[in-house]
Every structure is written in C-alpha cells, then in structure tokens.
C-alpha cells in the first residue's frame, strides 16, 4: 500500500502540474532506468577494463562449440541420436550455408572483434597509465588476431574490420579480403601484442593473454601458412622463454581443478556455480544413454570419439584410456571424450577450461616446423617430449617424410578433441584422402558413415547464408 501511495504521490500531482506548466514535449522525453547508454561509457580505465573483460567473455560461447568446426568434420569424432539430427551435417561434411552453427561461428567471431576494436580504438582517449593502456590494447589485439585466425581458417577470405562500425551504411562497405591480407593483419596484431604483454600473469589476472600466448598463436599462424622458418623461430622463442612445461601426468593437465597449469599457454576460462558462465561441453560430450553414470545430468552424445581414433593409439600408449572412455549400449559403442568430461552435476555449468593453445601443441608445432626446415633429428627430439609421457619409445633416424607422418599421428593422438585435427588435416592437404579412407573403412560398420560427403571444397565452410543474403558483395566460397 505504501508503494501505491508513493506512486500516486509522485506521479499524479507531478503530471497535473507539468501540464499546467504546459511543457508537453518534456512529458515524453524520458530517461530509461534499465540502459547504461553507450554514449556515456568508455570514459575511464575501469570502463576500458570492463570492455576488455566483455571481449574475453565472448570466448566462452565460441569455444563451447569450437569442436563442431574442428573435430566433428574429421575422423576424430561423431554424433549419435538426436545429436545426429542437430550435428549430423558437421559429422558427414554436408553442412550448408544455412546450417545453424556456421552462422553463429561467423557472428560470434565478429562480435569479439567488434568488442576488441572498441578497446583498441577508445583506449587512447582515456586517462590511465601507459603500461595499462598497452596491456589492454595488447590483449585486445591478441583476441582480435585469435578471431581472425579462426575466421580465416574456417571461411578463407573474410572482411577485415579494424574499427567500430557505427552506421548501417558502413556495414555494407566491407568486402572479403584475401587470405594473405587477413594473415598479415593477424601477424601485425600479434607482433604488437607480444611486445607489450607480460610473460606471465598472477592471481586474479591469470588467464589473460600473455606474450607467450601471442608468440604461440603467431607461431601457429605461421605454421598454418607453411611459413616454416618464421614458425620455427617464433616457437623457439616460446620454448626458450621457459615459461611452460610438459607436465608429468595427464591427470595434471585435464580435469576438474587443473585449470591454468604450467602446460596451458592460453585457455578459455569457465567458472561453474550457477552463474551461467560455465562450459556446456562437459555434458554435451557424454553419451546420452549413459544415464547418470558419466554425468549426473542428461548428456547429449555430441562429439563422441570414433572407433578409428580409439584404434589409432598404438600398443602401450597410455593416452588411449586417459583420453577416451567406453560406454556400450547395444548396438552402439561410445568412445566418449574422457579428456574433458568429469562427473558434472549441472548442465551448462562445467568448471574446466578449454585449452586453446597447450604447450604440447607448441612443441609439436615446433617439431613440424623443424622437420620442414630439414632439421629432422631436432624435430624427433621435440616429438619425444610428448611421446615419452605417453609411455612410448623414442623415435630415431626417421626420414623427413616418416617424421612428418609421426608428427601427424602424434598431433592427432596428443591433441585429440582439442580442436586442432580438422585444420591440421587441411594444412597437410590430407582432409579429402583421410575422410575418404575413413568412409570406406566404416561405412559398412555404421550406416551413417556411408553418408559422409567429401570434396576439396569442404576445407572451407560456406559464408553463412545470412551474410551473403544481407550483403551480395560477399561472394560465396566454391562448392556452395
């Protein structure tokens, strides 16, 4: 009742007098109570820091689904049941420009870029220490580079947005830029970032992009372009900095409570506890029919490992049982992704992080670069760092070609489920041959594999239908 009276007391007399005073237009010029207007924001150091945090915040959603584009198309994983309805197109390489996730991948990446652009563009006018400004801009550039690296691998030539788009008309002025130009921007941003970012963060800053992360990502970008010399040099810098190490056991690297360990170069940070900021991949990866035996909530059978991956682990490789679990429901056998799954009690509230770059990846990338530079023995030395932990013997005296094959297998096994396989295959030019072999081998075992469709065009996803239909100047990729 008090509130009612309060309203009356405020509103009625006020309005009567307003009218009496004859200020009509004022009556409809209201200030919202539920909006923090953009016009008043980005003025202080705290605003810029919050804007940068908001930029990082996008990574959660992006890497919750990253496996759709980087694991599902490959021979590493598959889907079952309802998941097959939702994700079958990624599994069988029959995605189209209208496939849901394709559009999301595009818009999520550009949202992060837009948020990063705000930090980069507006930091200059805000009063703060140069150290902080450099750090914030460096982090923003790292995030922008990471997004363009994802975009250029998924879609090829993409529009380069480096400033805020402020009007609708602006949004139509951008065209697809050549892959080389996109990579050039990635390299530029990362070279800028590595100069200003610290080697390590502590306490409540752990998880921010470091110089090591920038260098590693740059190395990864060089490698994907087959710039072997630059890649080897940059990755050598990461190794020489001695910031990261291969941990002795897999249980130190993956699982609940192991986040941000010494092997993590850059990981997407998730936090459980009912804030809506946890990961979704834990229950998504568990087999749906497992009931409560693997996760305490209903699972989804997304991104389940293949028999082919399971069998690829050689004798004595302890990673097979560390990374994969078996759940059988007649007639289906699920080689589920134990690497990421723990007994979670809440959907969408997974606590463990997603490793974007792990030191094992750095080491294996370095090995690949070295081998391609003709330093095969040095490459094998690097390769042994991860093989040793897996309980495998050291490889010696292999030819360059065999070393390449060994690196390829090692990357598949060590980094399985982590979102590297599909673009590795593309770098090696083996995505078609691998998937054709996979289809030939498994089509009779599982009828769904008979529907895999693989052509060279599949190495790029189509520009989302939404985007080409909004902007006709975005020419579609071949084959779509």
């Amino acid at each position: 009742m008090k509130t009612i009276l309060h309203f009356f007391r405020n509103l009625l007399p006020a309005s009567l007098l307003l009218l009496a005073a004859g200020c009509g237009t004022e009556f409809v010029n209201l200030t919202p109570q539920d909006v923090i207007p953009v016009a008043g924001f980005y003025k202080t150091e705290a605003d810029i820091r919050a804007a940068l945090t908001g930029t990082y915040g996008n990574l959660r959603g992006i890497y919750n689904n990253f496996w759709q584009f980087t694991e599902m198309p490959s021979d590493n994983t598959r889907s079952f049941g309802e998941s097959e309805v939702a994700l079958g197109e990624f599994d069988r390489l029959t995605w189209r420009s209208t496939t849901g996730g394709v559009s999301t991948a595009w818009t999520d990446a550009y949202r992060t870029i837009a948020n990063a652009n705000v930090v980069i563009e507006r930091s200059g006018a805000v009063t703060m220490t140069d150290a902080l400004r450099n750090q914030y801009m460096g982090e923003a550039k790292f995030l922008r580079a990471l997004m363009y690296f994802n975009l250029v691998r998924l879609f090829g030539d993409v529009p380069l947005i480096l400033t805020e788009i402020k009007t609708e008309a602006d949004a139509y002025t951008f065209k697809r830029e050549a892959t080389a130009a996109v990579y050039a921007q990635i390299e530029k941003d990362l070279l800028d970032a590595e100069k200003v970012l610290p080697a390590k963060f502590t306490g409540v800053n752990i998880g921010r992009a470091t110089s090591g992360a920038a260098k590693s990502l740059l190395g990864k970008a060089y490698l994907q372009q087959k710039k072997w010399t630059e890649a080897a040099a940059k990755l050598a810098e990461v190794i020489a900095a001695n910031t990261y190490r291969i941990l002795p056991a897999y249980t130190d690297v993956f699982g609940l409570g192991k986040d941000n360990n010494d092997e993590i170069v850059f990981a997407v940070q998730y936090v459980g506890g009912g804030f809506g900021e946890g990961n979704t991949f834990v229950h998504n990866f568990a087999p749906q029919p497992s009931g409560t035996s693997i996760v305490a909530v209903t699972a989804n059978s997304h991104n389940v490992g293949t028999r082919d991956l399971y069998d690829a682990f050689g004798p004595g490789d302890i990673r097979r049982d560390a990374f994969m679990g078996i759940f059988t429901r007649n007639p289906d056998v699920y080689y589920w992704t134990k690497k990421f799954v723990y007994n979670i009690a809440q959907q969408n509230e997974g606590e463990n992080d997603w490793p974007v770059i792990r030191y094992a990846d750095v080491v294996l990338m370095y090995a690949e670069a070295l081998n391609n530079n003709g330093k095969t023995d040095a490459a094998l030395t690097q390769l042994h760092l991860t093989r040793k932990r897996a309980g495998l013997p050291e490889l010696k005296g292999l030819t360059k070609a065999d070393t390449q094959l060994a690196v390829e297998l090692e990357r598949r096994l060590e980094l399985c489920f982590e979102g590297h396989r599909w673009h590795d295959l593309i770098r090696w030019g083996k995505e078609v041959s691998t998937m054709q072999a996979f289809k030939a081998k498994y089509a009779t075992i599982d009828v769904l594999n008979a529907n895999i469709s693989i052509t060279a065009d599949r190495k790029l996803f189509p520009i989302p239908f939404r985007e080409t239909s909004l902007n006709a100047s975005l020419v579609q990729n071949p084959g779509y």
Partner: protein, 1075 residues
C-alpha cells in the same frame, strides 16, 4: 522542468490527493443511498401517505412482441425497474398510485408517460422513434447511432459473451464478429488469453494485438483485457477500419476493441444473482498403442535394426504394466461461476455494483484458474450542468500453470519460469512407453529406469524422458494477479451543446509469480531423481513480482448542434496524457546451491540471486474529430490525431494520423420511397485512415552496454559489452487502410446485411532488421521498413424471424483475409524459421508471397527395390531401399534443399461464425457455431513417434513402415532408421494436416420461470439454463485441437502443434434470478 516538479522531495507534500481518491473509492458504494433518501421527502410532501401498491404489466412493440430492457421509472421518484426478456415488469409504488406517473423509455422508441390512476396492470405499447436511428454504438470518445456511422465497427452484445462458460472475454468473442479472429492457441489452458487479430497480421517486427479500451481507458497491456469479468460487459465494439480507429492514433493499427461495462440505469435497486457450475473434459483422446501393440512395434523395429529387446516381452508380456498416460495426466474438472450484482439509484444518481467469482480447474492436472472481481460504476448529476462518474474495479486472479507446449524433454520456452527446462507432460504422455509403471511399488512415480524396458543393455531406455504425472504433481508454478482499475470523470456543460470532460484514471497491477521444482522431480538436470533418491542440488525456486502503474489523464471538449434542423454537427477535441511505469523484481536460489526442500522457496538456498527490471513509457496526444451529417443522409467524418511517445527516437517522436470517412444513406433519398417497404435501409460508405503501431517495447531506439563476464584466476571478472544498435530516427509503423462498406436492411429491419472490403497497407514496419554479422555488437536493430498488405472481405447478416410464437434471431458472419508480403526493405526473403526441433527451415517470409507458407518435401513413395534406386532421384547424400522417394521438384536428378515446396499455409483462408437465438414462450435456445477454413497445421507431436523402439507410437505408423522382410507391401512410411528425408529430420507433406474445422461452440437451453410463479416467491425474474461449450468439432485434424498454435501469435511460425493444451468440452447448469 520535471526535476523541479517532483513532489517526492517534499516531505509530506500533497498527501490529500491519494486520501481523497481512496475516500472516494470507499465511499462510493454508499453514495447512492444517502442521496437517494435525501430526495424522498420531496416526493412524500407532494402526496398523501398511502400503502405501497404493486403495479405490473407488459411492454410490447407495435407488433405486440414483448420488449425487454425497457426502463420503467416513477416520475420524480427513485423507484424504477426494467422489463424482463418477455417484456414483463412489476414495480412497487411506495406511496400509492393515484398521482403516480410511470415513464417507459427504451433506446429507439418514443418514451411514454402514463398516469397509473387506479390500475394495477399497465400494458404499454411503445412506438418506434420517428427519428429512430436504431442501435447506438460506442465509438472512440463518444457514441453514435449505428445508422449514421460511416466506418466499419462490429458490435458484440455483452449477453453473448456472458452466456459462455469460458475464463476470458477474449475466448467468448470467437465467431461473434466478422474480421475478428480469435485463436485459443494454447487450447483450454485455464485463464489463458487467446490471440485476437483484427483483419489479419499487421506487422512482422512486433505483435499484432489490437488496442483494448475499457470504459475509455486504453490498456497498456492486452492481457489486462482478459481480467475483466465477462458478465460485467455491456458491449464490445470492434473498430476495424482505420477511419474508426484513427482517433486512437498511434496504437490503433491493429484495430481497437472498446469494452463498455454495465452502468446503473437508475430506479429501485435490482439485485441479480447468477451462478453456473459444470464439468469439463478433453474433447478428444489420442489413440496410441497399448502395451501389446507396443511390444509388437518394438519387436518389429528391433528386428529391422538388428537389436535385441528385453526377453520378458516374449516370455511374460502380461507381467508388464499397461499404463494409459493420457488417463493419468488428464481429468474431468469442475468449472463454476457466481455473480451478484445490484443496480439502481435515482434519476440523478445511478450505480451498479457487481461481484463475481470464477473458478476453473484444468483438465490437465495441476492447472487451474480462479478469479475474483468487483466492479462499481457510479454516475451522478451534480447539477444540471455538471455530471460525474466513477468506475472502480479491483480484481484478483490466481493461475496454476504447468508446462504444456513443447517437446517431451523440453517444454517450449516461456512455459517454465526462470529458463528452466521441464518436460512437456502432454507430449510425454503420448511418447511414453505404456510398459512403464505409473507408480513404482514403493509409491514413487514410475520412470523408464524402473521398467523392464531399460534392463536389456539400455537400448530401449531414453534417458531424457520422464513421467509426466510427476511433473504435474510436483512442479509448482502459480501466477497471481492483483489489479485495481479506477477511473473518474467530471463533465461540465458551460453552454448548451458544449460538453467539457476530464477523465482521470489509473491501473495498478501486481503480478506475482512463484515457481518451485522439488528435489524429487526427475528432469534433464536430475534424470534419476525421485522420492527415494532426491537431488537437492537441482531444486529450483523463484519468486518474482511485477508492479505496474499506469495513469491516464484525458480531456475532451464535445460540441454538438443541429443547424437549421438539418445540419447535424459534432466536434470533438482531445488532449491526453498517459504514462506507464513498472518494476520487476525477483529472487531465486542460485542453481546448484540448494541442500534441502524443507523450505520450498528461494530462502532455502544460501546463495540467492536477485533480478530487477524497469519499464517506462509515456504518450502525449492531441486529437480532433468532425462528424457531420445532412438530415442523416449524407454523412461525413474526419479525424486527426497527433501522438508523441517516449518509445520512439528523439528525431521522430511525433506522428500524425489522419482519417476520413463518408456515407450516403441512399434509402433516405426521395427516389427510394417506392423501395422503402422492401429495402428500408441502404447505406454506402467509404473510409480511409492512417493508424500507428507502437508495440515495440520501451527505449528500443537506444543502445547501451550490458554485462558480459569472464573469469581470471578462477575469480569472476565483471565486464560490459555494447548491445544493440541505436536508431534515433525510429518511429511509428503506419497502417493505411481503405474500407468500402455497404449496409442494407430489408423488410423493416427483419433482415440486415453488411459488407466490407478493405485494403490495409502496413508501411514503415517496425522491424527487427538484420545487420551484417561483421557489425559484431548487434545482429539487428529496430527500424522502419517494408510493406505488408492485408486484403479482405467481411460479410455479416442478421435476421429476426417470427414464426408463430417463436422469435428467432440469426447472426452470421464470414470473413476472408490474405496477408501478403510486399517489401521487406531490400532482401527478397527472410531467414527461414523452423517449426519444431528437427524440422528446420520450414517457414520463410518471401516478398510477393503470402504470410504463413510452410515449406517441405513432397513424398512420392518408397524405394522398394534396387531398381527403384536408379529409377527415382535420390536425396543429395544418397538413399537406400526402404527410404522415402521425395519428389524432385526442379528435375535436376537429385533431391536437396531446392526441392522444398509449399506444403501448407498456417493462416486460414476464411473464418466464419453463426449464432442463433430462439425464443419460444418461456424457452430460449442459443447456438454459436465457429468455423475456420483453409489453415494447415504441422503436427509436431508425431515427429518422435516414428520408428523409435523406446517411444510409444500411433496407429498411423504402426504396421505402416517399410519392412525389408516384406518389401512389396504398400506402406506409407520408410524403414526404421531411414536416411534421406524421414519423418524425424525434415518436414514433409505427410506431417502437414488440414486444420479446418467447424465447431459447435456453444449451445444453451434456458427456461424463464413464469411471472405468476415468481410473484409468489417475490422474485422479479428467474431463468435456469444448461450450456454445452465446444460440444462438437468437425475436423480432419487428428490431434487435440485444430485451433492450436505452439508459437503463439507469431507472424513467422503459425500453425504448429506440439504438446499444446487440448480443447475442452464443458457442460454447465446455471441459474440467474433477479429480485
């Protein structure tokens, strides 16, 4: 300016106003009496005290037919009554009759005064008013005779609404007015408002709800219309064309529904009591397989797929449960309604007070609706030049909800509060295996994991599938609505013919919602939960409140004058302000933090989460209207309204809405005189007007930053990111509507006909326009673009027949509307929308096409042989024997996305309604028929029923799937596990059904007790009646309700059914007495 005038800053300032208002509210019911009694001595002084005398009689029209509703008042006194349905009346004259004069008056008739003298029986025949313009209709800010209307307005009498046992006035409107489509999208959900559309879908970017105006008060929220007690409604006028609606300007684009509540007519206090009570049941039950058929189906699918099924299904099938899940979740449920009203007053002070209680239990267990309403209307003449009126209507409603629409494991968004997913029990009841026990031996709700089904390697155990009765029994979701509507006016006539009126009103609305999911309710987050194994971490408790205040101050000046006895002129000026403000607050326990359900609210969690949200908007309006007619023959009307609203960008906040209409009553011309005996009325009218739509929420023109968090070092970090794209130019969506009408009455109004043709163009649609993804921080923004066209025809006819002693009135209407997309601001098509999960890209809005088209594949047969595989085009990824053959529409030799064609249309071609009212002696019969023709429904209920051995299914699929062991048998559905296009993954024409129906919506049989009998028990009138609501529905649609709409009032996805609430059939017995 605003800051300086804020009164809250002054302690104790202006407290008299609320006090006065509340005093008025409280005193209002008492006011009629003291004032009335104050007048009595005057009467007494003029007459000798004498004993009261009862006078009775019958009022008839010139044909001798009884006239109901005639006011009979004692001249100069306070006594009065109205005639009953047969024209009979009785009136006690308090001080003897000798000098008493009775005044008989009724709209459309010449009032008569009769000296009572010594008579105790006074029969009166009233003559029609020579100036008779017949029925009066309520237009915006005034009333007008039906015959001098130049616009398209449909009137529905309150009586037609009150006779139906339904929970909302909206539902009762179905079939009663041409051009008004009422779709009870969620079926018989108690207390749920239907979707009401007037002349089609007017907008793609926002909703197409009409504006509701109750006793002159434009409602902020369409939902509040449905809190009105249907029995309190005197009439509903639907302003359909833009010319009639334009006086409501910026909010009238989708038509205006004007509700007028009953007001006192004066005279002696008349009490009326009415009550009905009855039972409801589902109008239909779906035929699903019983246990033995289910086992047979399971074995067939297992055989084809090469899986083993639980051995007990062979060895001892009878040991297994045979649960009828529909019987478990549905019930017969009572419905009741009680009304008590009193009405009376003096010539100068009239009032009506009514109280009502309505209670409906849902046929789906766990659902119910209870509503308590009170309404007080008072009109008083304070002096010959000053009038006032007050309306106060408090109400309280309580609704218990359950998730209905949506999928077995995931009820549709909005069905469950707080974004928690729960199973849809209605869908679950269909797909649940009958071999699952309803209850376990220990009394827990039976689940798949309790059954033999899950024993054998779990292949027949869908883990995301839960006992629907558990949901209905354990989940709590209650919405309580407290509303106080108050409105008062003062009208002053400073000089003759000029009336100045000021109206002040407000609506207070509190919506309180409480939801609770206990630890023992199995759902996706706690799949094994039951009483033996509660999962406290998955408890969910949330309490929310929305407190809204809306106030309106309206000022009108009306001048009417007849010049030279032939020029009738009415001028109206309006100045109005309306402001709405609301606050939403809520609290819930953080997910995962509950440890006990000893306390069933958010306090049981040690970690609570708060929510808050605000809404604010204001409208400022000026309007003017001219109504002119020359001898009631040439009629012209024009209106202009200017509105400003905070909802629009600062650059375009004002908008102006003009309208014009004209009519020619051909039948008033001298040359018509010869025809007048046949066609007594012929009117041709035309109108054009512009109206606006502002249903876009508040401040959508502005962009802000919103929270987006991350975590560093395991600690949450709070961040912000831009959200939304500012549009300072955002403005009204405009409807330009042209209407041509013809009205004719034959044989002295025995038969009348009205015809309307309209063309409605929505310009500058309020549209959520997509932005290229590269913009990043916004995917779309609110802007004005495009053009949508609605064209249609409406025909209404009415006839009053008299066959002997039988009086028979028939009202019929039919309307057809077509919504076409003319322009969507550049692109030729919008992003396709799915229907239900798994059936994607079904709806697509395309330029030049009709709204509501459904796209899917056409099934042409089944690949039965290897030969067939070469003969017919295959799906892009290849086909196999047993798969469906899909028609290769473009003849490119393969079946892919481009072979989708239109397989249905979600909006009806036409709708129609007919009501009959028959009276014979004391017996009356009412019948309302409702029809919808040419709409299709996508039956999403049956998607999961295809070829899942662990789900139950329906006879449609049973023994009707391709069997590799018997390949030549004619079957309609592909092999279990089919690839290519199959019922599970793509929409085909086999899943689209004809949704046309004809429904016997209401049949009421009543008996009015004879006056002679009533006099003995001192009653004025008494009627008993029996009603059947939704008695029969003639339809080919095979599911619960052909009126279904899973996506509510969506313009994008009309005509989907999945787990929507069944239509209910209601039988009631009622009684109404007057005393």
């Amino acid at each position: 300016m605003m800051k300086q005038l804020r009164f809250s800053d002054k302690p104790g300032g202006q407290q008299w106003l609320p006090a006065l208002l509340f005093a008025l509210l409280l005193a209002a019911p008492l006011m009629g009496q003291p004032l009335a009694s104050a007048r009595q001595p005057q009467v007494a002084s003029n007459s000798n005290p004498a004993a009261p005398v009862l006078v009775s009689g019958r009022v008839t029209d010139e044909t001798g037919m009884g006239l109901p509703g005639v006011n009979i008042a004692l001249k100069g006194g306070v006594t009065g009554t109205t005639s009953n349905e047969k024209g009979d009346y009785q009136l006690t004259i308090p001080d003897g009759q000798t000098r008493a004069v009775l005044v008989f008056s009724s709209v459309g008739f010449v009032a008569q005064e009769l000296m009572v003298g010594n008579r105790t029986v006074l029969n009166v025949q009233l003559k029609p008013d020579s100036q008779n313009l017949g029925e009066v209709v309520v237009i915006g800010y005034g009333v007008q005779a039906q015959k001098t209307l130049s616009t398209a307005i449909s009137k529905v009498e309150g009586r037609s609404l009150a006779l139906q046992p339904v929970s909302t006035p909206g539902e009762a409107l179905a079939a009663l007015a041409a051009g008004v489509q009422v779709q009870s999208g969620r079926g018989g959900y108690p207390g749920e408002a239907p979707t009401i559309r007037i002349r089609g879908v007017g907008s793609l970017g926002t909703n197409s709800n009409p504006l509701y105006v109750v006793d002159g008060y434009p409602l902020q929220d369409a939902g509040q219309f449905n809190l009105i007690n249907p029995s309190d409604i005197e009439s509903i006028e639907v302003l359909k064309d833009a010319a009639s609606a334009a006086i409501y300007g910026s909010r009238a684009a989708n038509g205006v529904v004007i509700v007028t509540t009953k007001r006192g007519k004066g005279g002696k206090t008349q009490f009326s009591l009415s009550a009905y009570t009855g039972m409801q049941q589902n109008a239909k039950k779906i035929d699903v397989l019983n246990r033995d058929e289910f086992f047979q189906n399971m074995k067939f699918i297992s055989r084809v797929r090469g899986q083993a099924y639980p051995a007990i299904y062979d060895t001892d099938p009878n040991s297994q449960p045979d649960t009828d899940w529909q019987d478990a979740i549905f019930r017969k449920a009572p419905i009741r309604d009680f009304q008590l009203s009193a009405s009376g007053g003096s010539e100068r002070m009239r009032y009506t007070v009514s109280g009502g209680y309505f209670s409906q239990d849902g046929t789906l267990r766990g659902t119910s609706y209870d509503r308590y309403t009170l309404r007080f209307n008072l009109d008083a003449e304070l002096s010959p030049k000053l009038r006032m009126g007050v309306s106060v209507a408090p109400s309280y409603a309580s609704q218990y909800r359950q998730p209905a629409g949506g999928q077995y494991n995931n009820a549709a968004a909005g069905e469950v509060t707080g974004a928690r997913a729960l199973p849809s029990p209605i869908h679950s009841a269909i797909v649940m295996s009958p071999a699952i026990p309803l209850y376990t031996a220990t009394g827990d709700f039976g689940q798949y994991f309790d059954a033999a089904q899950s024993a054998n390697g779990s292949a027949y155990f869908p883990t995301n599938h839960f006992n629907p009765l558990a949901v209905l029994s354990l989940y709590k979701n209650r919405v309580q609505n407290y509303r106080l509507f108050g409105n008062g006016f003062l009208e002053w006539e400073p000089i003759k013919n000029l009336r100045l009126k000021t109206t002040l009103g407000s609506t207070l609305n509190v919506e309180d919602q409480y939801a609770y999911i206990p630890a023992n309710l199995a759902n996706e987050r706690a799949p094994r939960a039951n009483s033996a194994n509660p999962v406290p971490a998955q408890i969910f408790a949330r309490e929310t409140q929305r407190f809204g205040v809306d106030w309106l101050w309206e000022n009108t000046a009306t001048y009417s004058h007849t010049f030279a006895e032939k020029h009738n002129l009415t001028l109206l000026g309006l100045y109005s302000l309306q402001k709405f403000q609301s606050k939403f607050t809520g609290a819930s326990g953080r997910a995962g933090t509950f440890t006990t359900d000893l306390l069933t609210n958010p306090l049981a969690s040690p970690d609570r989460v708060g929510e808050v949200d605000y809404e604010l908007n204001a409208f400022l309006s000026y309007a003017g209207r001219v109504n002119y007619d020359y001898r009631g023959k040439y009629i012209f009307s024009a209106a202009l309204r200017q509105d400003a609203s905070s909802r629009f960008g600062p650059n375009n906040r004002f908008a102006t809405f003009p309208s014009f209409s004209g009519a020619w009553r051909v039948s008033e011309e001298p040359f018509w005189s010869g025809l007048r005996n046949t066609i007594n009325e012929l009117k041709i009218r035309a109108s054009y007007g512009e109206t606006g739509n502002a249903n876009i929420g508040n401040f959508t023109w502005l962009n802000g930053v919103s929270g987006r968090n991350y975590s560093f070092g395991g600690t949450r970090a709070f961040g912000y990111a831009q959200a939304g794209f500012a549009n300072y130019d955002l403005t009204w969506e405009t409807n330009q509507q042209t209407d041509l009408g013809l009205e004719a009455s034959f044989l002295n109004d025995k038969f009348s006909l009205s015809l309307d043709l309209y063309d409605r163009q929505t310009q500058d649609m309020l549209f959520q326009k997509d932005l290229p993804g590269i913009v990043g921080y916004a995917n779309n923004f609110r802007t004005n673009l495009g053009n949508l066209q609605n064209r249609g025809i409406e025909v209404s006819a009415k006839t009053s027949l008299r066959v002997g002693a039988v009086k028979w009135t028939i009202d019929a209407n039919i309307s057809a509307n077509k919504t076409k997309v003319i322009d969507i601001g550049g692109p030729q098509a919008l992003t396709p929308q799915g229907s239900v999960f798994g059936w994607n890209n079904v709806y697509q809005i395309k330029v030049g096409e009709q709204l509501g088209n459904m796209y899917g594949y056409q099934v042409a047969g089944i690949f039965k042989t290897a030969d067939d595989l070469t003969r017919y085009p295959q799906f892009a990824t290849g086909d196999k024997i047993g798969n469906w053959i899909i028609k290769d529409q473009n003849g490119d030799g393969k079946v892919d996305e481009s072979d989708r064609v239109i397989v249905g249309q979600g909006f009806p071609k036409f709708t129609y309604g007919m009501s009959h009212s028959v009276q014979w002696k004391n017996i009356d019969l009412n019948l309302i028929l409702q029809g919808v023709q040419g709409a299709n429904i996508i039956n999403g209920n049956i998607r999961h029923l295809f070829a899942n051995a662990n789900f139950n299914t329906i006879p449609l699929y049973f023994n009707n799937m391709f069997d590799p062991a018997d390949p030549t048998r004619e079957v309609a559905f592909p092999i279990p596990g089919a690839s290519g296009v199959n019922p599970g993954n793509n929409l085909t024409d086999r899943m689209v059904f004809n949704g046309s129906f004809l429904r016997v919506r209401n049949l009421t049989l009543g008996y009015t007790l004879p006056t002679s009998l009533l006099q003995k028990v001192k009653l004025q009138s008494a009627r008993i009646y029996a009603t059947g609501q939704n008695l029969f529905t003639f339809t080919k649609y095979p599911w619960y309700n052909p009126e279904t709409s899973l996506s509510g009032d969506s313009a994008y996805q009309p005509g989907i059914d999945q787990g929507t609430y069944p239509a209910i059939r209601t039988f009631t017995l009622g009684l109404s007495i007057g005393f």
